[in-house]
């Protein structure tokens, strides 16, 4: 539990937290000095291709960060990066492209604020605040499913959310998470088993 909880505490108490939110990486640049502004036509294309995936991006960030406020910051920063890097988008599924940016943003946002460097290291350390037992105390079936997903260790949670909620293919999940397809399959299978077990326990008090 320690690492994730301490991360939350750091975020809540650090004086950097507010400053970090106000100026996410890259946003200090003014559009008129270094980043060439996109044309109105490109903006329209971005609105049509990328903006429809805002809810999905937020859902992904929310499950990654397990924090509603942090998820907003991550998504806002990710959209800024996506917009500035839109010229580099070479077709394909804009969701997978956007999710990869959200994930990178999440990792870079949390790296500076927590002691966890290797996301794999958290595999065996689910957050105490989000154990199935805690989830049980919340109201409603959806909340308990959400809580059980949030209690999954990060790589498993990520694979499960990308597959079940965002409906990405194995290949797309592999691209977004920079993992081999075989690893994606193992994580997904493991994630589902853990989730089934957690929800089953919950169903048998």
């Amino acid at each position: 539990m320690g690492r994730i909880l301490s991360f939350r505490n750091v975020r809540a108490s650090s004086p950097d937290a507010a400053a970090g939110r106000a100026s996410p990486p890259g946003s200090g640049r003014r559009p008129d000095d270094s980043a060439p502004a996109l044309s109105a036509a490109e903006a329209q294309r971005f609105r049509a291709l990328v903006l429809p995936h805002l809810d999905a991006a937020y859902g992904f960030a929310r499950f990654l960060s397990r924090d509603a406020t942090l998820a907003e910051d991550i998504v806002q920063d990710a959209f800024l990066k996506a917009y500035r890097g839109f010229a580099g988008f070479r077709g394909g599924d804009p969701r997978a492209w956007l999710f990869a940016i959200v994930r990178t943003t999440f990792l870079s946002t949390t790296r500076g604020r927590t002691t966890w460097a290797d996301p794999e290291a958290t595999e065996a350390i689910p957050s105490e605040a989000d154990t199935p037992e805690a989830a049980l105390l919340r109201q409603g079936e959806a909340a308990s499913v959400r809580g059980a997903i949030e209690a999954l260790p990060e790589p498993f949670r990520e694979a499960l959310v990308l597959r079940e909620l965002e409906e990405l293919s194995y290949r797309q999940i592999a691209e977004v998470t920079s993992a081999p397809i075989g690893t994606v399959m193992s994580r997904l299978a493991r994630a589902r088993q853990m989730l089934l077990a957690a929800l089953r326990e919950e169903g048998e008090p």
Binding site: Q44, L51, P52, L54, Q76, L80, R146, I149, L165, L195
Partner: protein, 258 residues
């Protein structure tokens, strides 16, 4: 009850539609004879249904959507400035409010092949706005808020009127794009329907009569007033759109709306 060890990954790939046809068929055959795998599959399908239930995924807060919209607007180069259309310069062409109302009641029906591409764009803009992606940048029924909001964002001043009394309440305004140019979009409601009123400077060569058209079930109505071109787009009945035009043309202070 659990799956056969050899098939534990196959079950997931099968559930996720990631197996090729031959393996899908083979696994379906296996399922008929293996109670363990069948039970496991049923459990995974039930889990999927629980995850897909409403309330598990959280939609993005509206405030976040607004901040991202603002970010896009701030990061976007202003459209190349063309000849600014100022109201006094176009006054001689303008129709008086009363005359515009008469013109509206005549509502000449015409087909405008030259504007076909434009009509498709208008419908696309309208549909996009109603998908709740980007209905309004400034949400208010107060025309005194909407009108100044456009200042500095456009090189013309769109007239703004609240027509709630006529059954067309003003919802707000936003910037949109037509022919790669930033235009004003005023958003009105008619019962549950949205009416987008796109406003842009009139190109002198395009002084066409009031015209209506329909595209993919959407109605469009075009008119001009005071050097500006108006396109109303909605899924309301064409008659409602004509009534909207009459109400707009007859607004208090038409053509010099403060």
């Amino acid at each position: 009850m659990s799956a056969c060890p050899d098939n534990s990954h196959l079950i997931h790939a099968f559930l996720d539609g990631e197996l090729d046809a031959a393996n899908t068929e083979a696994f379906e055959t296996h399922l008929k004879t293996c109670a363990g795998c069948a039970a496991e599959l049923a459990a995974l399908q039930a889990l999927r249904a629980r995850i897909a239930a409403p309330g598990v995924a959280t939609p993005a807060p509206e405030a976040l959507r607004g901040r991202i919209e603002a970010m896009i607007a701030a990061e976007t180069a202003p459209a190349p400035r063309r000849r600014a259309v100022s109201l006094p310069a176009v006054l001689p062409w303008g129709l008086s409010g009363a005359f515009a109302a008469v013109a509206a009641s005549l509502a000449v029906v015409a087909t405008l092949p030259a504007t076909a591409g434009l009509e498709d764009q208008l419908v696309a803009d309208h549909v996009r706005s109603t998908l709740a992606l980007h209905l309004v940048d400034v949400a208010t029924s107060d025309r005194h808020t909407v009108k100044p909001w456009f200042n500095g964002k456009l090189d013309f001043a769109p007239p703004v009127a609240d027509l709630a009394a006529q059954g067309f309440p003003l919802v707000g305004g936003r910037l949109d794009y037509l022919d790669d140019r930033v235009v004003a979009a005023l958003v009105y409601r008619r019962n549950k329907h949205v009416i987008n009123l796109f406003v842009r400077p009139l190109r002198p060569a395009l002084r066409l009569p009031v015209a209506n058209a329909s595209r993919h079930g959407y109605s469009l109505l075009r008119w001009t007033e005071g050097g500006l071109e108006f396109w109303a787009v909605s899924d309301v009945e064409p008659g409602d759109l004509a009534a909207f035009h009459r109400a707009f043309a007859a607004r208090p202070g038409a053509l010099g709306t403060p």
